[in-house]
């Protein structure tokens, strides 16, 4: 089966009108598989970091959400040690009208606004609640250590 028109269009648009601070490039041998990089948002502990992610559009996309995870280590209450992300629009609130670009923007926004009340990485979330300045400092350290451009 050829690649669905929707995926072709989305890919074209990602290239033609790139989102600032976000890059998504499909693999040559698998056009549903993207190498993604997201710049840490300004005024966040991730500022200055470039985070690598991988994204895959499953068979039922866009009826089911894309699968995404961080490849760069990141200290964040909603991202676990394997880079898996807890984000509502990637799960129950997915809508087929959402796109790769909107999802990546949501992830960038999540970096700017961590939500320790809906944690995926429990230890990080705990620390975020009990010692926010300390947690932010660690997030900054990790950004410098693992996400240097």
């Amino acid at each position: 089966m050829a690649l669905p028109k929707r995926i072709i269009k989305e890919t074209e648009r990602l290239v033609a009108e790139p989102v600032p601070g976000i890059e998504a490039v499909p693999h040559e041998d698998n056009l549903r598989y993207f190498d993604v990089s997201i710049h840490g948002p300004a005024q966040s502990p991730y500022e200055g970091g470039v985070f690598k992610l991988e994204l895959f559009l499953p068979e039922d996309y866009p009826m089911t959400p894309p699968k995404i995870r961080f490849l760069t280590k990141i200290y964040h209450p909603n991202i676990d040690r394997l880079g898996r992300i807890c984000l509502d629009v990637l799960k129950a609130n997915w809508s087929p009208a959402l796109q790769i670009r909107t999802i990546l923007l949501s992830i960038q926004a999540l970096l700017g606004a961590p939500n320790p009340d809906d944690p995926l990485a429990n230890d990080v979330a705990q620390r975020w609640k009990e010692d926010e300045p300390g947690a932010i400092a660690t997030a900054r350290e990790w950004t410098q250590k693992h996400a240097a451009p």
């Binding site: 089966m1 549903r32 598989y33 991988e54 895959f56 699968k67 490849l71 280590k73 394997l82 898996r84």
Partner: protein, 140 residues
């Protein structure tokens, strides 16, 4: 290509989730060696010996390595617990991929669970189930 091809990492994440939720076969389990290993290469599997065989009630541990080419290429499997089986090298514990059908005729859709289940099955087949076994708990 008729179906979307799931890339290695997402495939391993699927397997991990299945293992974590305990959705797989009850007699076999597997998990990541290192929860921080972003490449998810090294795994440990356990097999509960099949009943009515010399393996009954024994618990075997195996190391599973998934290379960059997984699941195009089969994983490599090595027993940690000592076991006497025709497909297992008696000095290293390595599983001879040519002697285990699912590894020899590996397919993209096969998973680590397939391998563990087949190893368990091979312990219980008539020609293997009575093979004398090394002491329980000994390792390679």
């Amino acid at each position: 290509m008729s179906k979307a091809k799931v890339p290695r990492n997402f495939r391993l994440l699927e397997e991990l989730e299945k293992g974590e939720k305990g959705l797989g076969a009850e007699s076999c389990s597997y998990g990541l060696d290192d929860g921080d290993d972003i490449m998810m290469s090294n795994w440990t599997g356990t097999i509960l010996g099949p009943p009515h065989s010399a393996h009954e009630n024994r618990i075997y541990s195996v190391r599973i390595h998934c290379s960059e080419q997984y699941p195009e290429q089969p994983p490599s499997v090595t027993f940690i617990s000592r076991v006497n089986l025709p497909c297992v090298d008696q000095t290293t514990g390595a599983v001879d991929a040519t002697k285990l059908p699912c590894l020899a005729q590996w397919r993209y859709e096969y998973t680590m669970e397939h391998v563990l289940v087949e190893l368990r099955r091979s312990m219980g087949i008539p020609q293997n189930k009575k093979l004398p076994q090394p002491p329980e708990g000994s390792t390679f």
